[in-house]
């Protein structure tokens, strides 16, 4: 456990020790700020009585953050250590593959969550400046953050896996961007195709990240979604463990 904490702290600190970390923070804040602006604009045009959080994913900017920023956060996890050679010094200490994978994932995931932290102020900003504004309902706000965290954990695990496959950070970022966008597009397909009774359509809806986020942002916590993201995260972390253990294959 001590080793895991040491490693995670190092991972998290690594994000703040590079210029890249601050570029990510600035970029995400810009996009999230823009989404706030769009929400305000929407409220101006036609006031509605649904939870305000429901507007958040529909601005599209969250998806931009998810698809573009997560690969940049995770690309360094393994690829950087492999290219500098520190992967060798790391793996020759008495740490287990699982500890390393979990620490790298946790560090990246922690940084991801931190980039969304300022968003917690949005409901209060809206409340402060809006002339007429209903009570901020904590439920949908919490479930929106849960959604952001769960979808994020899946994309982080995906990114860690991509990074473990290569020693080039650029390749890692491109691979996780491609995989992530692919998954997003599958969801989009479910969104734009006309509703039918076919199992294919049901499957598309079931794996649609857009659909999930819609639920989360309207305050619905569906256990199927939680299981979906947690199991996918576990699968990709398992695959990452296998990749970094593969150097010991005979």
């Amino acid at each position: 456990m001590g080793t895991f904490i040491t490693l995670t702290r190092r991972e998290l600190a690594g994000h703040f020790l590079s210029f890249r970390g601050y570029v990510i923070l600035a970029g995400v804040q810009f996009l999230l700020g823009l989404s706030l602006l769009l929400i305000v604009d929407a409220l101006n045009n036609q006031p509605f009585d649904l939870p305000i959080t429901e507007k958040f994913p529909s601005t599209g900017l969250f998806w931009l953050v998810l698809l573009l920023v997560t690969p940049v956060i995770t690309m360094r996890t393994f690829a950087r250590e492999k290219s500098t050679g520190t992967f060798e010094t790391l793996m020759t200490t008495p740490v287990s593959d699982l500890q390393v994978v979990l620490a790298k994932f946790s560090g990246a995931f922690g940084f991801y969550l931190l980039t969304f932290l300022p968003m917690a102020a949005f409901p209060f900003i809206l409340k402060h400046y809006a002339a007429v504004f209903p009570e901020v309902d904590a439920g949908p706000v919490a479930s929106t953050f849960l959604g952001i965290a769960l979808i994020g954990s899946f994309f982080m695990a995906l990114g860690c896996f991509a990074s473990s496959l290569t020693r080039s950070q650029i390749v890692a970022a491109m691979a996780s961007f491609t995989l992530g966008t692919g998954i997003f597009m599958v969801g989009l397909l479910g969104e734009i195709s006309p509703p039918t009774d076919t199992p294919l359509y049901a499957a598309l809806r079931y794996i649609s990240v857009l659909e999930h986020m819609k639920d989360f942002s309207s305050g619905i916590i569906d256990s199927r979604h939680i299981v979906f993201y947690l199991s996918l995260t576990a699968v990709f972390l398992f695959l990452t463990c296998q990749t970094i253990g593969s150097r010991r294959w005979k």
Partner: protein
């Protein structure tokens, strides 16, 4: 935590390697390598690039798994008890990779914690190694801003921070200037008092002065393993003789061919009317008296007659040469 002191029977060698083989795809990196290293020995791995030194070291350090064969470090099998082995090995890989975005003390503490030292123990050990490797001035500097010599000392300090029984250093002096090389060499010599040390190098003087035993790697095999002195003796048979005589080349040619002790000869013109002959004697005989006598009877002016003194460099070149000339 495993017990560090009571599980190793005293007389057993520190490192036992048996029939170690590693294939990369179908290409063998090392083939059937066997050796043992005793406690307190400094062993030098010598060989050209790609000879299998680094691969062997990586397997010993628990980074790679072997395709075949067994490796035991301090009685623990590298394949079955990898973590036990890693606890006892301090490894500095080739090019000494370090986290350039960390400060020296911070990095060493991080490494000490990873290697299982407690909070207080790691603080104490880091202070000790900083002192030992003369890093006090650099302790608060970013590793990325350090000179190569300092970086190397940080790497050595890291390899030692958890007081391992075995220290494995892959090319510890590569890219250093002569002064830094001397410093690092000094450090390594000090280590030998309490540790078993493996170092690899392709710089001979390096290992010649520091090591108690040399292992010469060539194309994935260990082609020679002995003390530096014994290696020199063993290969004495290859000592060649250089003669410069004033005579016609064809006369010399027949003279050497008639001399049964000369296994191989080569004649090249030297300045003036002199000919330079390189003779390889059979069975390492010293032919100088015979040649001197021959020159005297034939009346050839003789201006040089020397026997090569074999240095490790020659041994190395001889053993790792692809084809005999």
């Amino acid at each position: 935590m495993a017990d560090d002191t009571h599980d190793i029977p005293a007389p057993k060698p520190m490192i036992e390697v048996e029939n170690l083989t590693k294939l990369y795809g179908s290409r063998p990196a090392i083939r059937d390598v066997s050796f043992t290293v005793g406690r307190g020995e400094i062993v030098g791995f010598l060989g050209p690039n790609g000879a299998g030194k680094s691969t062997t070291m990586r397997i010993l350090a628990g980074f790679l798994a072997a395709t075949g064969g067994t490796v035991r470090v301090a009685g623990h099998d590298v394949a079955d008890a990898s973590r036990e082995v890693r606890r006892r090995v301090g490894f500095m890989p080739e090019n000494n990779p370090l986290h350039s975005d960390m400060r020296v003390r911070e990095y060493l503490k991080f490494r000490a914690r990873l290697k299982g030292l407690g909070r207080q123990a790691s603080r104490n050990r880091v202070d000790e190694v900083i002192e030992q490797f003369d890093l006090t001035d650099a302790a608060r500097q970013m590793i990325g801003e350090l000179s190569k010599g300092y970086r190397q000392r940080v790497g050595l300090a890291d390899a030692l921070v958890h007081e391992p029984a075995v220290i494995i250093l892959d090319e510890p002096t590569i890219g250093l200037d002569p002064h830094q090389v001397r410093t690092v060499r000094q450090c390594i010599k000090q280590l030998a008092e309490n540790h078993t040390v493996l170092i690899s190098s392709h710089i001979l003087p390096e290992v010649e002065v520091t090591c108690t035993k040399l292992m010469i790697f060539h194309e994935g095999r260990v082609v020679a393993a002995d003390t530096p002195a014994n290696l020199e003796l063993k290969l004495g048979g290859q000592q060649r003789i250089t003669v410069e005589l004033e005579a016609e080349p064809d006369v010399l040619e027949t003279a050497w061919e008639e001399m049964a002790e000369v296994e191989h000869h080569r004649i090249t013109p030297a300045e003036g009317r002199f000919q330079r002959c390189r003779l390889t004697p059979r069975d390492g005989m010293d032919l100088r008296p015979e040649i001197a006598a021959l020159a005297r009877t034939r009346g050839w002016p003789l201006r040089e007659l020397t026997r090569d003194r074999h240095t490790l460099e020659d041994i190395f070149v001889h053993l790792t040469r692809k084809d005999e000339d």
